[in-house]
Structures are given as structure tokens and as C-alpha cells.
């Protein structure tokens, strides 16, 4: 696929999938204003880096990766970004059949640090595979799996505390 086709593909993709791009950015930014800034910035970056889209089949993963990186940069800039590692004291939990039926968006946004929010959203809301999630986050599949399980562990613990 040549560059012309890629550019066109991206323009079509973003026009059709702006809602999901916005949601994904919102997962990080947690407010409309910042999420919109991140989407806009990501579109600029994507157009600049169109040649890095090697396989058009992975356009979603490729663009989500750009959104994730742009969002992290924005969070760092705001100095609101505090990386907290929950892996040490959090209990990992495997996502069971009904495990997330009683979850609300607010639980994810309020209870989970940024590091764990994106994987949960990609898994539950986007139905993405572990391999895809790992690619978006630039980590290996095992790390992605650990983050996902840790996230469910944190959420389960919160639920138990409330009960």
C-alpha cells in the first residue's frame, strides 16, 4: 500500500472512528477539554508519521498507540501525572465471566490509576486481544496481562470494601 492510500485510509478511519478515539483519549484525560486536545494532537502526529503505518490492518492499534503516547505526554506536562505502582500490594484477579457486569465507567475512571485504566477499557469495552493491548501500550503481552489482572484485583477489593 502506497503513502497516498495510507493517508486516505487514515482520513477515512478518523472520520468514521472519531467517537472511539475520543473515548480512548478520555480514558486517560478524564475530562472533555483535555481529551479533545489529545485527539487533535494525535491526528497531527498521525499525519506526520503516516509512513510508520506499515500494515493498514492495524490502523486502530497504530492510532491508539499514538493517542496513548500523546495522552501520557499531556499528563506529564500537567504535572498531575503520578505514576503509582500498585503491583506490589494489589491482589491480582482473573476476569471471570460476570466479573465486570457490575462495573461502571466511574469505577474505572476514579479507582484506577491511568496505567490500568487503558488496558481495562481496551479489554472490556473495545474487545481487543491481549496482543493488541500490548502493542498499543508498547509493552509485552505478559506485562499487559499482569496489568489487566492487577486492575481487576484493585476493582474487586474496592467492591468488597463497599460491601
Amino acid at each position: 500500500m502506497n503513502a497516498a492510500a495510507k493517508e486516505k485510509l487514515f482520513e477515512i478511519y478518523i472520520t468514521e472512528n472519531l467517537d472511539s478515539a475520543y473515548r480512548f483519549a478520555y480514558t486517560y484525560m478524564k475530562n472533555r477539554h483535555d481529551a479533545e486536545d489529545v485527539v487533535s494532537e494525535s491526528v497531527v502526529r498521525a499525519l506526520d508519521a503516516i509512513s510508520t503505518l506499515r500494515n493498514p490492518q492495524y490502523i486502530k492499534v497504530w492510532f491508539y498507540r499514538i493517542i496513548a503516547n500523546t495522552a501520557l505526554t499531556a499528563l506529564k506536562k500537567q504535572s498531575r501525572y503520578v505514576s503509582v505502582d500498585f503491583t506490589e500490594n494489589a491482589v491480582e484477579a482473573e476476569p471471570g465471566q460476570d466479573d465486570y457486569s457490575d462495573l461502571y465507567l466511574n469505577d474505572i475512571l476514579q479507582e484506577l490509576p491511568e496505567k490500568y485504566r487503558a488496558p481495562v477499557i481496551m479489554k472490556i469495552c473495545e474487545g481487543m486481544t491481549l496482543a493488541e493491548i500490548a502493542k498499543v501500550l508498547g509493552i509485552n503481552e505478559n506485562t499487559a496481562k499482569t496489568r489487566l489482572y492487577t486492575a481487576f484485583g484493585i476493582l474487586r477489593k474496592k467492591k468488597e470494601e463497599l460491601v
Binding site: 493517508e7 478518523i14 472519531l18 467517537d19 479533545e36 487533535s40 491526528v43 465486570y100 465507567l105 477499557i121
Partner: protein
Amino acid sequence: MSNLKNEYNEMQASDELRERVGKIMAEKRKRRISPIKAVLGAAACFAVATVAVFNLSPGLAAAASDIPVIGDIVRVITFGRYEYSEGYYEANIITPKVEGLGNRELEDSINAMLKADAEKIIERFETDIAEFRRENGDAEIHWGVDSDYEIRTDNESIIVLDVRFTTTAATSTTVHKFYNIDKKNGELITLPSLFRDGADYITPISEYISAEMARQNETGDRMYWSEGDGVDYFTEIDANQKFYINSDGNIVIGFEKYEVAPGAAGNPEFEIPAHIVEGIRK
């Protein structure tokens, strides 16, 4: 379906964001057209139209009619050459000059324009590299400006001079300026002047180009912006759209890079078959 997934999917991008993203894509394309286009000023077609107006003034028209047919000696020669090469910076500007055109006023104005464009490009190149050096030192970034010309058509009645300007900075952008010169009458040919007075040439040419773009999009030969891409796509040509006449006597419509297609399409050209404008062409 889970509450989470429902809530998540209910979030929608605002119309403001949609508009903003649309603008980014449009502006991005425009910025890529520069700097050459910015340096040269208005689109090439306007420059040519200005000369045409000049030529249409009564005094000049009368002067032109007094001159015998000397079409055979109209020629284009290399007038100036500017070369610069240092490290990653390179410029090679070749300026043509028209000679032997019956209409001396027109000849002078075309030559003045050719010279002015070359001077603008050179001046811009010199300020650009000075600035670039200050900011980037001796970064290994190739920066080049090229200008050259080509005779697209040369027969007993017309000569078509195509002057191209190319800037290279990671990616290259080329702008073409076409000078369609009527040798016999010593005039610069404008697009409207090819048609009968009052004839609508915009519609048939535009329809042909739209259909041809759709066909090429279909076959995958090339990609052009189209409805639904969320960007400005081709609808119709400008009354003074950039064009030239090829050796078959057909009109070839030219577009700038990014004007109607993604960058890799370069500067698309569409030869308009004679039957499309049959009956309205002079």
C-alpha cells in the same frame, strides 16, 4: 452488555472536535503546499491571467496586429543559473527567457515574471538556510531548492513553457507554472480564451475530471479525495484553472500537490479528450 461498556459507548465526540479535526487535516495539506507556493504568491493561474489582461489592453492589441507572423523564431533559452551547494544545502535554479515573440510588451512581461520568481526563490532559500543553520547547526538534513523548465509543446502555432519549482526538505513539493504562448498572435493563451464567448466550459471539464477521479479511485490506479473523506474534494475547476495545451492540441488541466489528492499523487494532470469540449472550443 455491561454497564461499563454501555456508558463508555455513549460517549461521543462533540461537533466542535469533529470540526477541529477536519480543519487540522485541511490545514495540514495546505501547509505542505508551501513554502514554494507561498514564496511565489498567488497560484500560477492568477499570474498568467494578469499577463493576459495586460495583453488585452487596446494599445497592445493594436501593436501586436502590426507585427508580421514570426512564430517560427519564438524560442525559450536559459537566461540565468544560480547554484549553491554546501553540506546538506543545495540549490539549482535555472531561469528561462522567451525570445522572438512578436509582441514585445508581452515578451518583456513574461521574462520579468520568470526573473522575479527565480529571485524570490533564491532570496527565500538564502534566508531559509541561514535560519535553519542557526537553529539546527550542521544537522544532517537535506534542504534543496530546484527550478528548471521544460517545453511541453512546440508546434507552428503554440509553444508551452512549463517552469517547475521544487523544494526538498524530507519530502519534496513541486509547483508548476505553465505559459501557453500563441506564437502567431503573440499572446498568452488563457483558459477562457480557448472557448466561445459565454460558453460554459467549467461544467463539462469538471464533470469529466470528477468521473475520471472516480474511475481511478475504483481501479486503484490513484487516490483522489472524494465525498465522505471529510476533506475538501474536487468539485469543479476554477475559471482560470492551471492548464496547458499538449501536442495533440488537447487541454491538460493541472492541480497542485494535495489540492485534490493525498501527497503521493504528486501534481495530478488530466488530459481532456477533444469530444468533451467539442462544440464550445474555438
